[in-house]
Symmetry: C2
Subunit: 201 residues, 2 copies
Amino acid sequence: MIARELNAIDRLVALLSKLPGIGKKSASRLAYHILDADTSYARSLAEQLESLHEAIKRCSVCGSWTETDPCPICADITRDSRTICVVERAQDVHIIEESREFNGHFHVLGGLIAPLEGISPGDLTIGQLLARVKRNDVREVILAMNPTVEGDTTALYLQKLLKEEGVEVSRLASGLPVGGDLEYTDKLTLSRSFRGRVRMG
Amino acid sequence: MIARELNAIDRLVALLSKLPGIGKKSASRLAYHILDADTSYARSLAEQLESLHEAIKRCSVCGSWTETDPCPICADITRDSRTICVVERAQDVHIIEESREFNGHFHVLGGLIAPLEGISPGDLTIGQLLARVKRNDVREVILAMNPTVEGDTTALYLQKLLKEEGVEVSRLASGLPVGGDLEYTDKLTLSRSFRGRVRMG
C-alpha cells in the first residue's frame, strides 16, 4: 500500500502544530477547515501573517508591541507617567488594559528571573526600567508578574533595587490564584488585585 | 483613558478566532506566540496559506483533497478498484489511510442526508458514486459514515440504491462509539470496525 502524499496539507499541518496548545489532530482539523472555507479566508490570514512583523514592533520606551513608536500608551499625555506597571510579557499589557483599572505607564521585562532556565537579571530590561524611574521621577512601581516562584523571585529582586531609588514599590494583591496566569484571570479578579495591591518592604 | 489600538494584532486575532475550537483568548495567545516567534515562522505559515487553495484541489474521481488529479489513491493501480469506501468528508480519507486497514478506493459524499438542515440526497455526490459502481464493476461498497442519526439515514439510503445495482454493501462495524466521530477514533478501534464490518440487507 503506497502512503498518500498531500504535501501542501502536510506542510500546513506541521506548521500549525507548532502553535501552543495545538496538537497534530487539532492542526489537521484547522487545516481542513481552512480548505473547506472560502479561499478569501486563507488569503486574508496569509496577508496578516506576512505583514505582521513589519506592522508590529516593540515600543522603544516600554517594550510592548505597537504599530507606532513610542506606543499609544507611552505617547498618551493624559496618562500618569509617574506610575509604572511592570509586566513579564507584552501580552500582559493588553490584558491589564482590558481591565481598565490602570492609567499609568507600562514596562515589559521580557521574562522572569529563572536560574534553572538560565535566565538571569541581565537578560531582562531591568536597566531600562531603572533609567526610566530616574528620568521620569517615578513615584510608584507596581509589580504585576504572575504569582509563581519565578514571579516572586523577580519581584523581590526588583523591589530591592527600586527601594534604593527611593520609589514606592507595590505588587498586585492576592486575588490571582497562586500558580495561575494573568492571561486566564477574569477582569473582576484583576480589578480587585489592583485595588488591594500590597506595599512591599 | 484612551483604549490601546493595535490594529495588526487585532485583525490577526479576529481571523484566528474564526477557526473551529479557537476562542478569543486562544486566538490572542496564538497571535502573541507568532509575534514572539521567529519572523520566518509567520512567513512560512503565510506562504502555505497563500498557496493552499492553488496547490490542493478536489480529485475529480473520488472528491478527496489532492495535489494531482486523479489523486494518488485513485491513480494507484496496486489498489483494489472494485472496493469503494464511502466517507462523509475529505479528511475522513486521511484518517482511514492512517489506519492502513483499507486498500481499495474512496468516495467522498460531501456531507450526510440531513432534512432538518436542508441537505437532501441531491446535494451529495451519490450520482457519481452510482456511476463509478457501474463503470468499474465494483464488488463491494463499504459505508464509513459516522454512527449518528444522519450517518444511519444516509447509509440506509445508499444501501437501498446500491442493492439495486447488485453490489455488496457493508458498513463499518460497531466499535465506533455511538454518537462519536471518526476523527477522534484511535487506529485500533478503527481497524476493528473495518474487520468486523456488517453486511447490510
